[in-house]
């Protein structure tokens, strides 16, 4: 019989077997990364909105408190999206004829709602309650990021379960004094750990990782 394969076949064979291992490993790693990437989570991508509303302008610029618009954040699961009325409180006076605000005026005139595109959207089987988090000293910016520097609103964090669990497992890393919950320029102190410990004790913050805490 004569040779079926060329010399190089030996090297090729071994390399391919050896390489396969790394290839598969790499592939899995990539998958994991993709799952966490903004492409999956939509994090850090601004949504198309009917009105070019700028949180930066309203929060940083005019220093409006979160609760002025998101009224129910302290006592409901839902923080609340301001009704057109709220916009008109000011914009009937200010920029009352700016073309950008036409949709708002139109909505107010015709009584049809403005249709915003949802930015923070949890799956339907997840039950998040704003009021309890706010009451336990979880600041707005902790989850929503520096809203005051977002000309167009985007989702700061992945909102994936591992991200939720991070805080539910060790809240002391994130909690702040109730007084500071709504301040957008709150900076975590050097001794966050110590402060955290203290607040966790003071606010009786529990580390809730039971399934039914969020899933029902």
């Amino acid at each position: 019989m004569s040779q079926i394969f060329h010399r190089s076949a030996n090297t090729i064979a071994r390399v391919s077997i050896f390489g396969a291992v790394f290839f598969v490993a790499g592939l899995l790693g990539l998958l994991a990364e993709v799952n966490r990437s903004p492409w999956m989570t939509d994090a850090r991508t601004a949504r198309e909105q009917p009105i070019q509303f700028s949180h930066e302008r309203h929060v940083a610029g005019n220093g409006i408190d979160c609760r002025y618009c998101h009224t129910s954040v302290e006592d409901s699961s839902f923080a609340g999206i301001p009704p057109t009325k709220t916009c008109m409180n000011c914009h009937s006076e200010i920029f009352s004829n700016s073309p950008f605000l036409e949709p708002v005026r139109d909505s107010f005139r015709t009584g049809t709602s403005i249709q915003w595109t949802r930015v923070h959207d949890l799956p339907d089987f997840v039950y998040f309650n704003h009021s309890i988090h706010v009451n336990k000293g979880v600041g707005c910016t902790t989850c929503h990021g520096q809203v005051d520097r977002m000309p167009l609103m985007y989702q700061q964090n992945s909102l994936q379960m591992e991200w939720c669990l991070d805080c539910h497992r060790n809240p002391e890393k994130y909690v702040r004094p109730r007084s500071a919950v709504f301040s957008v320029d709150y900076q975590a102190p050097e001794d966050q750990e110590a402060l955290g410990q203290k607040l966790v004790a003071e606010y009786q913050i529990q580390k809730l990782t039971s399934c039914s805490t969020c899933h029902r």
Partner: protein, 179 residues
């Protein structure tokens, strides 16, 4: 310039296992070390005749098995007691009796994988190309013929003297293995 084909060694063909074994012993006695004997089925004696060492495979398998065991146990413990301990039917987080089956399977898996790949590695497989294949009649090595190949890498190898030596073992035929 085209250099003359190097020689991998000399290949002697035999009809039956007995003569191959004898030939091998003789060659070994002669002092040849870099040689290999080929047979269509395993022949215990050949291994001794060649005077090659015992296989290191068992050790590899043992290590593989132990790694599998530890890996399995660690995974189970870490998952159920460390990273996300959940109260499952009132059982303790580390309910070791329940961890035995998986740990066991992991052991076997580790051992088996290391066994197969260890064997291939020790045999230098895969090696689709090998000089001996250059000899057409070598195809019979996987049917009913027995071969002894003394390789040129052997210090005592000398194309003529070695061929002469092999002739004395009354083989069917002696052929040169081009490299």
């Amino acid at each position: 310039m085209k250099r003359p084909p190097l020689v991998h060694g000399l290949l002697a063909e035999f009809d039956d296992p007995t003569s191959l074994v004898e030939a091998t012993e003789r060659a070994h006695h002669e002092g040849y070390r870099c040689m290999d004997a080929y047979s269509p089925y395993p022949i215990e004696e050949l291994h001794h005749a060649l005077g090659s060492p015992k296989s290191r495979l068992p050790l590899i398998v043992l290590i593989g098995g132990i790694l599998g065991l530890l890996g399995g146990l660690w995974l189970e413990y870490w998952v159920s007691a460390i990273t996300y301990p959940l109260n499952i039917g009132g059982k303790p987080f580390a309910s070791w009796p329940a961890f035995i089956p998986v740990a066991f399977e992991c052991t076997i898996l580790g051992a088996a994988l290391s066994c197969v790949f260890g064997m291939l590695a020790l045999n230098g497989l895969p090696m689709p190309y090998h000089p001996v294949f250059n000899v057409p009649r070598f195809a019979l090595a996987s049917r009913n013929r027995f071969f002894l190949c003394i390789e040129s890498s052997d210090p005592r190898f000398d194309i003529d003297r070695t061929r002469h030596f092999l002739e004395t073992l009354n083989p069917r035929e002696v052929s040169t293995v081009a490299d």
